[in-house]
């Protein structure tokens, strides 16, 4: 059951994809019911699997492989692996996917490529599920790329818009850069261990084998594979694609760019966690921290509702990565799960708002007002009650207010970073953690307030707003419910006592002892000692952030503009996304383009020139092809060939047409040959 069922779950969305891509337009309702039904079925199976696994075989790992191809004497195997991590992910993916499918029925109703959209959703779900259940790096990489391509297709769904197709390409290429690292990491491991399977790799490392006999390469391998996560989970410095990816339909953002695909990086790190050395983990932690901080600061300054959420996502992903880096494995993974729920909810909520705005604007034939700019909104609370209340719950959850799921996971992460700093002295990590917690609360409430509270800038627009249809609000409600604490732990202030912590345990490190991070036991001891402190601090900071937001935007005690002015360069930096895009454009992108042009020039002039050989031959070419040039060309050719009375050139004089001159040369050659000949 633990092998067949996951396979079925995996294949259901693929079936949907194939059916819809070929027959989508011929099916009634363009097949949305088919796609949704299939994914729902997958969800049901996943849920069943989760329950069965957690309750009856919690500690076991089910694995199955088959030989994909034989290369030389090597068997390259493919297979899958079901453990608690993967069953939880299965449920998360299928659930969010199901809800997004449902939501899209409303949201994408009038789209020209409706069936194509659902097909791509199916492709995405299939690939994502593949990442979840695979048991080896190669297949992981395969699905990794496939989610990349489905993400590309979905971001570029409205490809008539230049910005959309740009964003799609950008997302894919930036991801490729990360995947480049991952690929090299995989190569290192494969070349060393001749296998792609996690299990076998770990066994080999545990047995003391190291890639190229070097601990440095082991660390490098870990970091390189993590590069994949950097790309996919939009970690600094490869985070630039995610905000742009908001060009895709909002449900897609919810599914791919908030809940599942971007979390794949976190999942990957969790998968390879045992083989990461302390050095690698530290780098991971810092990358996460930096990402969290940068994204949070940017989020404060954004006005596009989806952009705010996008940066928030990056920030939260940074959190998760940081958590894994410091060793708070379970907390990090749990944040993935909880975040999936509330961030998907936030996006769908935003989608609901945008849908409503768009409808009004469309009805008014207004194509200038930006349906996504929060400055054009305000006071939507009464118009869209369902959306508002669910949105509020999500906001609370992400801000880490107690009684929400977000509080549980975030609190554990903060405690983890604190514990880490007590163990290793890296105090910057908890500091960033807490600052970001405060920033998160602030910008999320800013968003909430500006969107739903206060006065709209244009009353007439808001007047026409209507609540979205049920098919869109029901997913919101489901997700809102899932953002509450009791799904994860009966204790609202402590996640450790819940089933989740029991089910997902931090695996043992298998790297050589000297390279290991602090052991789980040591770590948890430290965590428990700082837990209370962390919790109190986090609550204070979260509430502080909320209050701050309220005082600026709700009560207008503090002027946002003045604050921005005071922050000066910091504000400008943040509002311009710390110029990451610009820097990349000016350096890497421009550099590459320059290089390509240089290469092209080089190729068309230098290489062609040199390879074409002696100048004579080259000129002969052009002469033959054009038959026109007679200056340099003829000079050279004549030098070797002949032409009457060209001074200085023996050969060109030779065939002068005068027989006596010929004879002079004959006799001369005779003498020359004689001199050469006699010497020999």
């Amino acid at each position: 059951m633990f092998i067949q069922l996951p396979l079925l779950i995996l294949l259901l969305p693929l079936l949907g994809f194939i059916l819809l891509i070929f027959f989508g337009k011929k099916l009634p309702r363009n097949g949305d019911w088919l796609a949704s039904g299939l994914i729902l079925l997958a969800f049901v199976f996943s849920l069943f699997l989760l329950v069965a696994k957690i309750t009856s075989h919690s500690a076991e790992v089910f694995s199955s492989s088959f030989v994909w191809v034989v290369v030389g004497s090597l068997n390259i195997e493919f297979g899958m692996m079901i453990d608690n991590l993967s069953v939880i992910m299965l449920v998360v993916v299928t659930l969010v996917s199901t809800l997004v499918h449902l939501f899209s029925i409303g949201y994408m109703k009038d789209d020209v490529r409706y069936s194509r959209y659902y097909a791509y959703l199916g492709l995405f779900s299939f690939s994502m599920l593949g990442i979840v259940i695979t048991n080896n790096l190669l297949l992981m990489y395969v699905f990794w790329e496939l989610v990349g391509i489905s993400s590309y297709l979905l971001i570029g769904h409205w490809y008539e818009k230049k910005s959309a197709s740009n964003a799609a390409s950008k997302a894919f290429i930036v991801n490729r850069i990360g995947d480049f690292g991952m690929f090299i990491g995989i190569m290192i491991l494969f070349v060393s261990f001749s296998t792609f399977a996690f299990e076998s790799i770990f066994e080999s490392i545990a047995a003391g084998q190291l890639p190229f006999e070097s601990t440095g390469w082991l660390t490098a391998a870990g970091i390189l594979i993590f590069c994949g996560a950097v790309g996919k989970s939009a970690q600094f410095p490869l985070h630039v694609w995610l905000p742009d990816a908001m060009e895709g339909p909002t449900p897609v953002s919810a599914l791919i760019h908030a809940a599942t695909m971007v979390a794949a990086g976190v999942y990957l790190v969790a998968r390879i966690f045992p083989m990461l050395t302390a050095d690698a983990l530290l780098i991971i932690a810092y990358i996460g921290a930096i990402t969290a901080l940068i994204a949070a600061t940017i989020a404060i300054t954004q006005f596009d509702i989806k952009k705010v959420l996008a940066y928030s996502t990056i920030s939260q992903l940074g959190y998760m990565i940081m958590a894994l880096g410091v060793g708070a494995y379970t907390a990090g993974f749990m944040h993935l799960v909880t975040h999936a729920a509330f961030k998907a909810g936030l996006f769908l909520g935003a989608g609901s708002v945008i849908y409503a705005m768009h409808k009004v604007l469309h009805a008014r034939n207004d194509h200038h007002t930006d349906a996504q700019d929060i400055r054009n909104m305000g006071g939507l609370k009464s118009k869209m009650p369902y959306t508002y209340w669910t949105f509020l719950i999500f906001t609370l959850a992400i801000s880490g207010i107690p009684l929400t799921s977000g509080f549980l996971s975030k609190d554990e992460i903060l405690a983890g970073t604190l514990a880490f700093s007590t163990l290793n002295g890296h105090w910057l990590l908890p500091l960033i953690g807490f600052v970001v917690a405060g920033l998160t609360a602030f910008y999320m409430f800013r968003l909430l307030i500006l969107t739903f509270h206060g006065k709209p800038s244009d009353q007439s627009t808001i007047a026409g707003i209507k609540e979205s249809p049920l098919v869109m609000t029901i997913p919101l409600m489901v997700l809102a419910a899932l953002s509450l604490f009791f799904f994860y732990s009966y204790n609202p202030f402590g996640a450790t006592s819940g089933w989740f912590f029991a089910a997902v345990e931090r695996p043992l490190s298998i790297v050589p002892e000297l390279l290991q991070p602090a052991s789980a036991a040591l770590f948890y001891e430290a965590v428990s000692s700082v837990h209370t402190t962390a919790m109190i601090l986090s609550i204070i900071i979260a509430v502080g952030g909320v209050v701050m937001a309220l005082s600026v935007y709700q009560w207008k005690k503090i002027s946002a503009e003045k604050m921005a002015e005071k922050a000066g360069i910091l504000y400008r930096g943040a509002s311009n996304k710390w110029y990451c895009d610009e820097i990349y454009d000016r350096t890497f992108v421009a550099g590459t383009f320059l290089l390509t042009r240089v290469m092209r020039w080089f190729d068309e002039n230098i290489v062609d020139g040199i390879v074409n050989g002696a100048a004579v031959v080259t000129r002969e070419f052009s002469r033959i092809s054009k038959w026109t040039d007679d200056n340099v060309v003829d000079g050279l050719v004549n030098a070797t060939a002949n032409s009457a009375d060209r001074a200085g050139s023996l050969l060109s004089k030779v065939q002068s047409g005068k027989v006596q001159t010929y004879l002079v040369y004959v006799i001369f050659s005779f003498l020359v040959l004689f001199i050469l000949f006699i010497r020999i």
Binding site: Q655, G657, V664
Partner: protein, 111 residues
Amino acid sequence: MEYSIMEWLSDPGLVHFLIVSAMLFSLGLMAVLSQRNVIMVLMGVELILNSANINFIAFSRFTELSLDGHMIALFVIIIAAAEAAVALAIVLNVYNRFKTINLDEISTMKG
């Protein structure tokens, strides 16, 4: 055995004849290479052939070649005559076409 120059000079042998032939050869060559007039060139050719003939006859007398040298020389004389006849016929024909027998003016084909 030591020869003085005078002794050498006073006893004309093979080498003396050969030297005469060499001088004749180079004079013939000179005519061939430098005279513009075709007929002068042909006269030069005759000189060259004659110089070769002197060689043959000289060898015939001074080495073991015996009468073979005479024989060859005889044939060379005949061939020289034949060649001269054909050459002059061609020259006449060229003269009819070009109205000149200056070799360097007869060069429409070159390159």
